[in-house]
């Protein structure tokens, strides 16, 4: 929006309307002039949350219609800030009565457009519910509300010797991470959200409050009834609003060693990974960066790693067990003609060693300034990883696309950071087609179209291909049973 527009129009006519239309015309989406939520309902919302718990301001709605994906902003009609599960339930009942779509919002750090309000409706911003409840150090569990983010929880826990290791990179809401079944760089050792959510408190589309494992229950294992907890993990807000999550905690590792090793080929790097896992080494992180990415990192962070496929490794454990783990891993990489291990123990040197991996996103963006980046996300069985990465790199070259690769090879999951010029429709098209081909390539190898980012808006057709029409029918049946009016985050996942 250029400022001169504003000056000129406001001088020409003193009407608010003219000013307003100037601002609106400069946006790229079209904002409904008519809000779908009747004002009586908005008043009812205010009665529940208090007057500062409801907003229809354009800027506020825009903020809540966008996440960190490349999908365009789709703002809701109203944003509400409930302060407790009772308020969430009351608001949900109102929305249900008036058939209004509901979209839960955590930190807005999703990568698949999950918060876009395709049919307008009400965005439930849950950040005011931000308590850490019921921490049981002896039982290794804690319950959190949606406003608690990963780093905040770990800061809260730091004196207890425990931590929550699932680390998707962004400082995301833990309940949001449960909703998208997030994972991270140390999933290979500690698992993803699916393995680490013990219980959820969920508000269904009609306002019913449900505890998926029973209220207050927090056992390490159970055989009781249907696994509703894991039904909601990964449901991306389409089955209910998560208002509490009980999480499994782990001991903070006594010692950490990080190492870097480069290889002459992708095959050698992945073979090393597979062998390390098959040896039973409890490796905590094993990250793969391809030569394009390493080159970008060298330039961006002024490093001098050899420009070839590289593995970044991290080991957790006691001092003695680390010695064993590292020496065994080194034997394996050497056997695959890997370079010498560069490794580090203390925090400051480890950070330097891993700097390349940490800055990868920014390094990729720096390859082509003024471009946007889109991260693909597929997952295959580990043994198929070399093949898919080689084929993907060929695809990139053939189609003149820039896509440095970074991957959580221990899980068979990798990302191409596609750089695209959003103003070049041909390139946008080519990236879209590439992404679809990549997903289908993964599906053809017994893989999944999304390892950790979720289905969101853009992968619904791929989900259908992945699970097949019969399984899709079952999913749709579950959705119809829990949300017959399709009010919960419509247009996503299914």
């Amino acid at each position: 929006m250029t400022f001169n527009w504003v000056r000129r129009i406001s001088k020409l006519s003193r009407w608010q309307g003219a000013f307003q239309s100037c601002i609106f015309s400069c946006k790229r989406y079209s904002v409904q002039e008519q809000c779908r939520v009747p004002s009586s309902v908005v008043e009812a919302f205010r009665a529940v949350t208090g007057s500062d718990g409801v907003s229809m301001g354009t800027a506020v709605r825009e903020q809540h219609g966008k996440d960190e994906s490349v999908h365009s902003c789709r703002p809701p009609d109203v944003v509400v800030w409930p302060r407790s599960v009772e308020e969430v339930s009351a608001l949900a009942r109102l929305c249900h009565q008036h058939s209004l779509p509901m979209i839960p919002f955590g930190t807005g750090t999703g990568l698949e457009g999950g918060v876009g309000a395709l049919k307008g409706g009400v965005c439930f911003d849950l950040q005011k519910m931000d308590r850490v409840l019921d921490f049981h150090a002896e039982d290794f569990d804690v319950t959190v509300e949606p406003g608690v983010t990963r780093t905040r929880l770990n800061s809260y826990l730091r004196d207890s010797g425990l931590w929550f290791p699932v680390d998707p990179g962004a400082d995301a809401s833990l309940c949001g991470m449960a909703a998208t079944s997030a994972s991270g760089t140390n999933a290979v050792r500690y698992g993803t959200m699916r393995e680490n959510v013990m219980n959820l408190e969920v508000v269904l589309s009609d306002g019913t409050i449900v505890h998926t494992a029973g209220k207050g229950r927090r056992t390490r294992k159970t055989a009781a009834g249907y696994n509703l907890t894991n039904l909601f993990v990964g449901s991306e807000g389409t089955l209910g609003i998560i208002t509490k999550a009980t999480l499994r905690l782990y001991g903070i590792p006594e010692a950490v060693v990080s190492a870097v090793c480069s290889f002459s080929s992708v095959q050698a790097a992945v073979d090393s990974t597979v062998q390390i896992l098959q040896c039973g080494i409890p490796i905590a992180r094993i990250e793969f960066l391809d030569d394009v990415m390493i080159d970008a990192c060298n330039r961006y962070s002024k490093l001098s790693y050899p420009v070839s496929p590289t593995l970044f490794l991290e080991f957790h454990g006691s001092e003695r067990s680390l010695e064993e783990q590292v020496s065994l891993a080194e034997e394996i990489t050497k056997a695959n003609s890997g370079s010498d291990f560069s490794w580090a123990k203390d925090q400051e040197t480890r950070s330097r060693l891993w700097k390349a991996r940490h800055d990868a996103w920014y390094a990729a963006l720096a390859i082509r300034p003024r471009c946007k980046a889109y991260s693909t996300d597929v997952c295959v069985p580990i043994s198929r990883l070399p093949q898919i990465i080689v084929e993907t790199k060929q695809d990139l070259t053939q189609n003149r696309l820039t896509g440095p690769i970074a991957g959580h090879v221990g899980d068979g999951n990798f990302h191409c950071l596609m750089l695209l010029d959003p103003t070049d429709p041909d390139e946008v098209q080519r990236v879209q087609e590439f992404t679809d081909r990549l997903a289908r390539r993964a599906l053809a190898m017994d893989g999944s179209c999304t390892g950790e980012h979720g289905v969101g808006l853009g992968k619904r057709a791929l989900l259908r291909e992945e699970v097949g029409p019969l399984c899709m029918g079952v999913m749709e049946g579950v959705k119809a049973s829990l949300d017959p009016q399709n009010l919960m985050n419509p247009g996503k996942v299914l």
Partner: protein
């Protein structure tokens, strides 16, 4: 160089907590609020433990002054690697009035009693923000001080301390025994891990009273009131244009503030209003 390090650790409200002022304005709400070790004290403990691990010091003693709950803070220091703890029991009115002067007297008395070669404390506590205890302790002991340390190394029979000052970095060499106060960039404190927390339960925490150390706790300060900072005023939609603004003067017209004219989403120069762009709320 072999000696004892005395580390002061303070139990404060956790840095992530939203502070609330008590309705009677005598202080802030502390009941049921999460407390933890002052972050600068964590850095102090870490530095002391590293010195011992490098065999430059032989024992690390963690000290805390306050009520029974301070023992938790000492236990965290023990889990980080301190060898033993001393809990100086102060409670009730005495604790409410406990300030840097009283704590410095206690630290000075303990430093002499334990024959410490080095006293390390955080540069300030995140509740009081006083930045006085280390300096007063050094003065009472007549020891040299290296404050705002961003790097500490042993240099012969003394210490070389790199200090963070406004103009940059200053290196000083001080003879031992000495007092050091830690700044943020000195180190990154380790986390207490489960096995270390278990081991810490077996380490000793001695209890003493200030009177046993010959320290008298009367405060020369009286807290008159504790108040919230003034509430941010609610926004007012300004209906008029800059030219009509009663407070804008001819010299302020047409000034861009953050890319927008005054009274159009910029800052109201009269400071009376938080201005909102007309048409958006």
């Amino acid at each position: 160089m072999s000696g004892r390090v005395l580390v002061g650790v303070k139990r404060v409200i956790d840095y992530a907590v939203k502070i609330r002022v008590k309705p009677d304005k005598t202080g802030v709400v502390t009941d049921g609020v999460k407390h933890s070790m002052n972050p600068f004290c964590e850095i102090a403990v870490e530095e002391a433990v590293r010195l011992r691990e490098k065999k430059l010091m032989k024992e690390v003693i963690a000290v805390s002054c306050g009520p029974q709950q301070c023992q938790e803070t000492i236990r965290t220091a023990l889990a980080m690697g301190a060898d033993r703890g001393i809990h100086v029991e102060v409670s009730g009115k005495d604790y409410e009035n406990l300030g840097p002067l009283q704590v410095s007297k206690i630290m000075a008395a303990l430093a002499k009693k334990e024959e410490a070669s080095l006293v390390i404390v955080g540069k300030q506590a995140i509740d009081g923000d006083c930045n006085q205890t280390g300096q007063m302790t050094a003065a009472l002991l007549d020891w040299p001080q290296g404050t705002f340390a961003s790097e500490v190394s042993v240099d012969g029979d003394g210490l070389k301390v790199e200090r963070e000052i406004d103009g940059g970095l200053e290196s000083v060499r001080i003879k031992m025994p000495a007092v050091v106060t830690t700044d943020l960039r000195l180190n990154e404190p380790r986390y207490a891990t489960l096995p270390n927390i278990m081991k810490a339960k077996k380490k000793k925490i001695a209890s003493v009273k200030p009177a046993d150390l010959g320290v008298e706790l009367t405060s020369r300060l009286e807290i008159l009131a504790v108040e919230d900072p003034p509430q941010r005023q609610s926004g007012v939609k300004v209906e008029h244009l800059v030219e009509d603004c009663p407070v804008a003067s001819p010299s302020t017209l047409g000034i861009e503030v953050g890319g927008v004219l005054c009274c159009r989403g910029g800052t109201c120069l009269s400071s009376q209003y938080t201005v909102i762009t007309a048409g958006l709320d």
